[in-house]
């Protein structure tokens, strides 16, 4: 079945060199394909979370490690603050800081921003190497090289590791694969040394990403399956025990993890399997000394009683609160509707939504259909380590189906299995050896004609293989085309879908040239330059990290959603009438409010589209004061035009979004280009009252109106109600400025609106 190709000795000597060169080339390709965003835009940190990581890294670089560990961040979650040093995974920041200091020691001073931007691409090269090692353990080096090439450019992984995507996942996937490789190695060799190395990298993984729980559960599951299948060995015992004991102790050193490994339900599986292995080891020791008849009775009695005892213990401890019950995030993995009902804050994040089917193909292309073939081939051999791949494949496919972001954990195993399948095909079809003389020539001929690969019964060892050059050429040729298409698809997806920094938007002008929409940075820099350094900015939590990172101002809530009530408070302030919101704003010392509005440009990720989540989250805390139903029309539609409900029209968010919006259009209908609805305009329809804001003043609106910033007014100097004071001021203004209605400002904005519409 297995054809061994004998190479001349000089070629055999050259193989390691070729392999190394190939790996280096793969790493180079992996890095290069992640640089689209740097080439297109600039060396900039992307999206939301990376901005926090970047800010934390800057803090670590400018302070020492201990003050980073004890960092109390007074620029976020005003006025609660955040014990940032104890609530983050420091692995990413420490890695970049070490690189920074290392390069500095080599007299290569590199800006910390560039290190952060380039970290993910560099680590993707390492991931390719780790995947190579892992796949080598599964099959052979040719499969390893294929897997490395796949993971290097697979869009599912690139989506999280382009240059500038400075997030935990950037280094975590490398750690994941390398930890798995070490585990397989430890299991194969039964080596405590490799077990300890596994624990070491497990520790690094715990320090880097919350997804370490995946390792915490998949290795015990692997061990359990091995035990249940009767494949218990002392190698397993040594590997698992050394990993678990050292790894758990090490993971508890991360302040954010703390005592979770012995107190939370997510970690109980690993502990249980650890206990089970001790029992199994003890049982196998006893078996060697006790007659088998007695042993059977002993095992059944002790196993059942221990099982009952253990279960009762876990249930009892959970009920008494010593072991934390499953968290909501965990439940939402099993029941996709759970989060929407119970924890809207999790459901409101788009990357927590269930995955759409096409995205499997989009993110892995042809590997998604090679994946089952690879699993099948691995099933054929089914060594201990192969079980690991099967378990990993099944779990990851399930989780990837539940949550979009977990596509990331599926991608490596898809690459491994795809590589195994493809390398198997290549093994067979590139074997140029002619069949030797055998007893059963007829059968061989028959199969040769049909060009069928059959894995027949092994008893007679029939010679099977593909010996027709035509079929070889056909299969190899088609796979070459597939591989070309794969590379093309990956490049296309990377360049078009995953390389946008989302801080800067790009659009195409009619002549095909690129037009950069830089409203976010414009607004953040406005805040930075024009507001006092201790100004407090309220915005929806999505923009908290960016305000902290780019505007360097204190925020009320940010993307670290640790306090649901505080977020609900912001939601309530946004979704209530001004009279209700104002006391909340005062109580939290809010100086400025920032809203994102895409109605003028057609930017769909704006606050009005997120508004229902604000309402829902606020409703979760104040069901009597905020009701989602009030924001829908009688027919159950979510509208912003004249049919919008009065609750909607009077909410602070609506008013701040559409304040003076109709002025831009003059006598033309004011069209919201995101929702395709016409905003009632006082200019065209005299019966409409223009939106007036009493408690806030418009402070800044960016070029394309994407970011609007409002300043919260102080209490009235004369003790008046804001509405009365505003009415007085406006009444005066009307009589004073009545003649200059058609001021040049109006004409200018009209012209601008026309340009935008074209």
């Amino acid at each position: 079945m297995h054809f061994t190709t004998k190479l001349p000795s000089s070629a055999a000597q050259a193989l390691p060199l070729i392999r190394t060169l190939t790996l280096i080339t793969i790493a180079g390709a992996a890095i290069a394909s992640r640089l689209f965003s740097v080439v297109r835009f600039e060396s900039i940190i992307h999206e939301f979370d990376p901005w926090f990581n970047f800010r934390a890294t800057k803090y670590l670089v400018s302070h020492d490690f201990y003050s980073f560990l004890d960092w109390f961040d007074d620029r976020t979650w005003y006025p609660l603050g955040r014990v940032t040093g104890g609530t983050l995974y420091p692995g990413l920041m420490v890695t970049s800081a070490l690189i920074f200091h290392g390069l500095k020691a080599l007299t290569l001073p590199v800006d910390i921003r560039n290190i952060c931007v380039m970290l993910a691409p560099v680590f993707s090269g390492l991931t390719a190497y780790a995947t190579y090692l892992f796949t080598c353990e599964m099959k052979d080096q040719s499969a390893g090289l294929l897997a490395a090439a796949f993971i290097g450019i697979a869009p599912g992984y690139i989506s999280r590791s382009v240059a500038g995507s400075y997030d935990n996942e950037a280094i975590a996937i490398f750690l994941l694969m390398f930890t798995f490789y070490l585990w397989i190695k430890a299991l194969k060799l039964g080596s405590a040394f490799f077990g300890a190395l596994t624990a070491l990298f497990y520790f690094y993984m715990v320090a880097a990403w919350g997804g370490y729980v995946f390792i915490t559960n998949i290795i015990p599951l692997h061990a359990l399956v091995l035990v249940v299948m009767g494949r218990y060995s002392s190698r397993l015992y040594v590997a698992y025990s050394s990993w678990y004991a050292l790894g758990t102790l090490a993971s508890m050193q991360i302040p954010f993890v703390g005592f979770l490994p012995i107190r939370s339900s997510e970690h109980m599986g690993a502990l249980g399997v650890f206990g089970l292995l001790q029992l199994v080891a003890f049982a196998s020791y006893v078996r060697a000394r006790v007659p088998s008849k007695h042993f059977k009775v002993l095992v059944t009695v002790s196993a059942t009683s221990l099982l009952a005892l253990g279960l009762a213990g876990v249930v009892g401890l959970t009920l008494s609160g010593v072991i934390a019950p499953w968290t909501g995030r965990f439940y939402s993995l099993w029941d996709t509707g759970y989060a929407k009902i119970h924890i809207p804050i999790i459901a409101s994040v788009s990357e927590h939504q269930p995955t759409a089917w096409p995205s499997f193909f989009f993110d892995t292309f042809m590997l998604i259909w090679l994946f089952p073939a690879g699993v099948y081939i691995i099933f054929q051999e089914l060594r201990d380590e192969h079980l690991f791949v099967i378990i990993y494949g099944i779990l990851a496919s399930y989780f990837a189906g539940v949550m979009v972001r977990l596509m990331l954990t599926l991608t490596p195993i898809v690459c491994v299995c795809g590589a195994v399948a493809l390398s198997n095909i290549l093994d067979i079809y590139t074997n140029l050896e002619k069949p030797l003389e055998t007893d059963d020539e007829d059968k061989t001929k028959k199969e040769e004609d049909q060009s069928v690969l059959r894995l027949g019964s092994m008893s007679k060892k029939p010679l099977i293989g593909v010996f027709s050059n035509w079929s070889r050429a056909f299969v190899l040729g088609s796979f070459t085309i597939y591989l070309f298409l794969f590379v093309q698809h990956c490049t296309w997806v990377t360049s078009n879908a995953y390389s946008s920094p989302s801080v800067v938007l790009a659009s195409q002008l009619p002549d095909g040239s690129q037009h950069i929409i830089d409203d976010f940075r414009e607004a953040y820099y406005w805040l930075r330059k024009n507001t006092p350094e201790d100004a407090k900015i309220m915005s929806w939590w999505d923009y908290g990290y960016q305000i902290g990172g780019m505007a360097d101002r204190t925020t009320l809530v940010d993307n670290n959603t640790w306090n649901n009530t505080h977020i609900a408070t912001v939601g309530k302030a946004m979704s209530s009438r001004e009279e209700v919101s104002y006391p909340i704003l005062r109580k939290h010392d809010v100086d400025y409010i920032l809203v994102i509005f895409g109605g003028l440009l057609g930017y769909s990720g704006d606050d009005i589209n997120k508004f229902l989540w604000m309402v829902r989250i606020a409703e979760g805390i104040w069901p009597d004061e905020v009701r989602e139903r009030d924001f829908f029309t009688a027919r159950g539609e979510y509208r912003v035009d004249q049919e919008a409900t009065s609750t909607m029209k009077n909410s602070l968010m609506y008013k701040m979004s559409y304040y003076r919006f109709t002025d831009v259009f003059g006598r033309q209908p004011a069209l919201d280009r995101v929702r395709n609805q016409r905003i009632p305009s006082a200019i065209t329809d005299p019966s409409v009252k223009p939106i007036s804001l009493n408690t806030v003043d418009e402070a800044f609106t960016s070029e394309n109106w994407i970011v609007r910033i409002y300043k919260v007014k102080d209490l009235d100097d004369f003790g008046r109600d804001h509405a009365i004071a505003n009415a007085f001021e406006e009444g005066k203004r009307k009589t004073a400025g009545g003649r200059s209605r058609s001021a040049p400002v109006g004409g200018l904005s009209k012209g601008k609106a026309r340009v935008l519409r074209e």
Binding site: D70, L80, P255, D717, F718, G719
Partner: protein, 446 residues
């Protein structure tokens, strides 16, 4: 060199003189808007009193074309004393409600004196409404059939004699020590007050008084505009930025005639009321605020960060402006709040030492066991006194990882510490035994 020294001394002297001679903290330029129909001679005593206090009076008619409260965006006066001309005349564009409000916003003080015979002008009314002062209807009179002045109005009963002991705001006008003193109210109407919390009533009508429209046929009215203590003759308002505005219901209160009546308190009343309104008295100032760690006095003052359970010392000093100079202000009700959303502490500060100009107050407390951004909030809002508000945000951080007591310093932890030592020791012993005694048997089995 000597010239320079001389110049410096001279400059210093000028500064000192101007400082000492400052009659009011906000300045001494007073605009007196006095209509020619109200004869200046009738108020000679009052005006000379103002002048003798060192105020710089410019008496102008309301329709003076050069009258303007602002020039190039700057206030041209520090105070406005506004009397109301007869009904037919308007106050002119510079004295509309909006410029007056802007003037107060810019730190100016205003006295509005209504005319005893005329109803309030539209612009004055609009200004009053913004402050929640409701001026009476046209041609109404305040009458009291029990406390009227028998000589001045034997028939209408609209000239009243009030007891100054009933004055409502001691920080604005304190009641005279002389119990026999009388406050003459020679006629006019009264106004009502809304719910504006910034308004401080100074003088209310007697309980038996009511507002009466002489045009009505009967002597009584079914629904009078205001009755008894609901009707006010003088009321003041201090804005949040500490500008002062006073409404007086009748110009006759300040007339020479009222001043010259027997046992009249009117002159002193007018002096005190204008002193208060022109920021010549009852002005407080926060001289200094400091907070620091209690234990070591060497630490920098006003640090921006504390730790939970730190002992914190807080100290402020307050001064009061009276008769042209600053004195220590002593009180026993100055409070500090240490807040994060809600107050965690509300402490009354105790007076400690004083300097020639300031009284110091201090307190100490232990930071709560809750991290976050806390504020030292000092809010001293007393009717008639300058509003003192000071808010300083500090960070209260959690314990650092190396700030907890070490395990061997906690007696309760000794069992655990000793068990660790025992296990580690036992392991070393076990390894030793394993290595040195198991050698032979291992060899044997192999």
């Amino acid at each position: 060199m000597a010239v320079q020294l001389l110049r410096t001394t001279l400059l210093l002297a000028i500064v000192c003189i101007s400082y000492v001679s400052a009659i009011s903290v906000s300045g001494s330029r007073v605009l007196v808007v006095l209509d020619p129909s109200l004869k200046q001679e009738d108020y000679a005593v009052f005006l000379s009193d103002l002048d003798s206090r060192g105020l710089d009076l410019s008496i102008k008619s309301a329709n003076d074309p050069h009258l303007g409260l602002f020039e190039f965006g700057e206030r041209t006066y520090d105070h406005v004393f506004l009397t109301q001309p007869p009904t037919q005349k308007a106050l002119g564009p510079n004295l509309l409600a909006k410029p007056l409000l802007d003037f107060a916003k810019a730190g100016g003080n205003i006295v509005i004196v209504l005319n005893s015979n005329e109803h309030a002008l539209a612009s004055v009314r609009e200004f009053a409404v913004q402050l929640d002062v409701v001026l009476p209807f046209r041609d109404t009179k305040l009458v009291d059939h029990f406390m009227y002045d028998e000589q001045a109005s034997p028939l209408l009963h609209d000239a009243l004699i009030l007891d100054p002991q009933t004055l409502l705001a001691p920080h604005i006008v304190a009641a005279p020590e002389d119990v026999a003193a009388k406050l003459y109210y020679p006629g006019g109407s009264a106004f009502a007050l809304g719910n504006n919390p910034l308004i401080v009533p100074v003088l209310a009508a007697p309980e038996t008084a009511y507002i009466y429209d002489p045009a009505e046929e009967t002597l009584s009215s079914d629904s009078p505009f205001a009755t008894g203590k609901q009707a006010f003759l003088v009321a003041s308002l201090q804005t949040r930025s500490n500008s002062r505005i006073t409404f007086v219901a009748s110009n006759l209160l300040f007339s020479d005639e009222a001043f010259s009546k027997p046992n009249s308190f009117n002159r002193a009343f007018a002096t005190e009321l204008t002193k208060w309104t022109f920021s010549e008295k009852s002005v407080l100032k926060l001289e200094s605020v400091s907070h620091r760690l209690l234990e070591d006095t060497n630490t920098t003052e006003n640090p921006s960060i504390y730790r939970v359970k730190n002992d914190i010392a807080y100290e402020v000093s307050l001064s009061q402006f009276e008769d042209g100079s600053w004195f220590p202000y002593t009180a026993d009700d100055v409070q500090l709040e240490f807040t994060m959303l809600d107050p965690y502490y509300r402490l009354t500060l105790s007076p400690t030492h004083k300097t020639s100009t300031a009284q110091f107050y201090a307190t100490t407390f232990t930071a709560p066991d809750q991290h976050g951004m806390f504020s030292f909030v000092l809010e001293y809002f007393r009717p008639g006194l300058t509003f003192i508000k000071d808010k300083r945000v500090v960070t209260v951080r959690h314990f650092g990882h190396n700030e907890f007591a070490r395990s061997f310093a906690i007696p309760n932890a000794w069992p655990y510490v000793s068990s660790i030592v025992v296990v580690a020791g036992a392991w070393v012993v076990f390894v030793g035994l394993w290595l040195f005694t198991g050698e032979n048997s291992a060899k044997k089995t192999v």
